[in-house]
Each structure stands twice: as C-alpha cells, then as structure tokens.
Symmetry: C2
Subunit: 254 residues, 2 copies
C-alpha cells in the first residue's frame, strides 16, 4: 500500500474443524494458517475465541449433569431460564453484581464481570449443553503460544477473547479474557503529547482493543475462531488478564 | 496474502497538519491519503479522532473564558482540579453519574457517559485551554463523509472516535461518538449458529469495535488522527450514535 503509513492487518483463520475435548488447538491453528499459505512471524498476535478453547479443554457441560439446587430452581423462575443453566451459572459465579429484569450479571472466579458468569449455549453441537469459561484463560493462551513456538519456532502473543456487554452502551464487544506474551495495557502516562503536555491517566486497554478488532473478522459463528493480527507494536512480557480487571476499591460501579 | 481468508486492514493517515478552527478536515484527510498513495474505495471506513474534529469546529475553549461559578469553585476543591476546567465540565454535563475519589463521571448532552463530560486538555497547542466534544458528532462524521464524496466521488462511512473508560475493567478504549454511513450495531439475533441454535441477544457494537481497532494504529498523540479501515463488511445506512446508547430504563448501572 504505502511504505510510510503504519498499517495493521487482521486475517481470519478459516478451515478449522469442529473442536472436540482434548484437541491440540495450537496444532490445528498452525495447520489452518498453513492451508491458507500463512507463516507466523515474530510479533504476530493470535486471537482465539473462548468457545473453541472451552471445547478443547472439556469445559462444555451437558445440562443433564447439572442438578439444580433449590436456589437455582427459584432463581430460574425469576430469570425465566432453564434451572440447570442457572445451576451452572451459580457454580461459576463468586458474586452476583446485578439480578434484575431477567438479567444476571455475575463476577466469575477469575474476576470477570459479565452476563451469566460467562456460561453460554451458542455454537455447541450438543443442543442440551452449555460452555463454561476456561479455568485459567491466561494458561490457555500460553499453551497455544507455546505450541506455536514448538511447531514453528516463532514467538507470537496470544489472546483468548469473549463477547461481553457493558454498562451505558448498547451492544456487545469482544474483550480479552486470556493474555500471554504481551502486556495488556499500553501506558502513555509517561509520554508527552505533541505540545509537551503530559498525557495523564492515559492507559489504553490494548488487549481489549485487539480482541474487539478481531471480532470484526470473526463474525458470530464458529467458522473463524482465530484471527492473526500483524503490524501492532506491543510490549512483550508475561501479561496477565488480571491487569485488565479494576480492583474493587477503585471501582465506582460495583 | 491469501485469497481464501477474510482480511481487514487498517492504515494510519499520517501527514495531517495541526488542525485549526475552520479547517476543511475532509479535504485535509483526502490530501493526506493522497500523499500516502491511497485512493478511497467504496466500503472504506474512515475513523477520525474527536480532538481534531473539535479543533476544526472551534470547540477548543481558552480557560480564561470560563469564569467558574461558586459550584465549580467548590467542586474544584473536592476534585483537585482547575475551577475553570470544572466550570466547562459542568456546562457540558446534563447529569452527574458519579463524583468520588477525584473522579467526575458525567453524562454529556449527547448522552455519552464518560469522565469529565468529555472535556480534555491533552494535545492542544494552547496549554491553557480545553477541548469540548463536538456539538453534533454524527453531523461531524457526515460532513467529513460528504466532503470525501464531493472530492473523490467515493462513498465511505465515517466514525468519530474518543477514548473512554468503563466500569469493572482497567484502561481506556476508543469508542464511537459519531457515526455516518453505517449501522453502528451488527445484529446476529436473527442468525443461527453452526448447529441451528438461534444466537440470542447477540448484537455487536460494531462501531465501537471499529473505533477500538483504529486506536491500535493511532497511538495517543495527534500524529495519526485518522485511520482508514478496509475490508469490513457492514450494513450501509444512516446510523446514529444514539443507537449505541442504552436507554435509562434498560441500564442497571446508572
């Protein structure tokens, strides 16, 4: 295009098979990339959807395995949801943030605040099952990254993304729930602007923006569960998703 | 790269001059693109930062023009801010959402909920001034779009972006505060997933994801105030930013 302008490209990795428990997701991603004629390069970022990670890690639970507690049964009526689904949500939640108008917003054990504690029924071959978030999404990201390093000899960064709502604004956006190989925050607070003024309080949640950008390529079915991002300048490092979570004492909207 | 994989590219438009009140922003963007050897194509999306739009539209106010009211003076002490800046914030706000720990989160007259009602002092040549949000950011987006149509004969979509915080998660992300030429929401709720299940409640805030993606190319100074996004499949239409704002009766976090 032009040698002078900074450019970012995002490439959707099509051609992955339906993921099953125990699948080697890293190897399948390498294979899909290779079928598309892509070779990983140092500095590449791979964004992988939570759903395929949960599938590979056996976090898809048949609803018949979730015997609802009395609380789950009573909340199921209030929320107009399947009591077995509510049972799974309650098991995943460590705190209920809001429960109103059929909506259940909960904090997961990882510290994510999202609808239904991340429990979700879309894009599952078993119509009577639900997917839970990975137990350790940073570890999931690291495992994919390590696998690509082992198979291709290339160090990439990896993000696990999920689709969350947010207060005040309509619509969902993708955010990062797992990070490995890059610092999730880009800190401009030591930088000065073009006129010598210090950029106060300007810490950008780069990992969330990368996840959001990847969604634009993924769409909402599972045909593109991974996106390669090329051209983003990031600080390497052992990032953790916990860096993206606001500590309770700083949160005005608990 | 590959003919089979969907690909999105984002190109930062460098080379724009420092923007002054009355500047023809659309024409300057066309000129910058042209210097980079870029030609607009139908379906391109242009993301422009709020700050240059505010500059062009005369929304940069010298602090000496903001005589603080008694309320602004008293809140300035509580918030540890310049009373003239607080005066401007109060003029821009239609509702105070939270005021605590030195943080003022307000709803602007447009309905955006953000820190300091969008009033911001970074990246201004006058160190003793503040930029307010454009009065009608959808109109600002439409004006840029119309200018590109007039100059190049090409219909693009345009977004105005700004950097907002959010509850629960640390770090800022770019969101869309002005939209023209595309529907800001991508609605998958009529779609079925790969297994025939209806994708419930899956409305993606595509305009916000596009703004977030553009930030990855912009960085935080003003050297790249506009980004061209190419390859995103969107629904054309007269979108309005108000579609991105949750109505009060649906918001559990007012």
């Amino acid at each position: 295009m032009s040698g002078k302008a900074p450019e970012l490209s995002l490439i959707g990795l099509t051609g992955l098979p339906e993921i099953r428990q125990g699948d080697d997701l890293g190897a399948l991603i390498v294979e899909a990339a290779s079928s598309l004629g892509l070779e990983f390069r140092p500095g590449d970022i791979l964004v992988v959807t939570q759903k395929v990670v949960s599938k590979a890690e056996g976090r898809v639970i048949p609803l018949r395995d979730a015997t609802p507690s009395p609380l789950a049964r009573s909340w199921a009526v209030l929320l107009d949801k399947d009591p077995r689904l509510v049972e799974l949500i309650l098991r995943e939640a460590k705190r209920i943030v809001r429960m109103d108008r059929g909506i259940l917003i909960a904090e997961t054990r990882h510290g994510f605040i999202c609808a239904n504690a991340g429990v979700d029924r879309s894009n599952l071959p078993d119509q009577d099952a639900a997917a839970l978030l990975p137990l350790d999404p940073d570890g999931s990201a690291k495992a994919i990254r390590d696998r690509i390093l082992a198979l291709c000899g290339i160090e990439v960064a990896a993000l696990i993304s999920d689709t969350f709502g947010r207060p005040w604004r309509e619509g969902l956006t993708n955010v990062a729930i797992g990070v490995s190989g890059l610092l999730p925050m880009k800190d401009y607070s030591a930088a000065v602007d073009d006129f010598g003024r210090r950029l106060q309080a300007t810490i950008i949640a780069a990992a969330d923006e990368l996840a959001a950008a990847a969604e634009l390529v993924m769409g909402k079915t599972e045909r593109i569960p991974a996106v390669l991002i090329r051209g983003y300048q990031y600080e390497k490092g052992e990032g953790w998703t916990s860096m993206l979570l606001r500590p309770p004492e700083k949160d005005l909207f608990r």
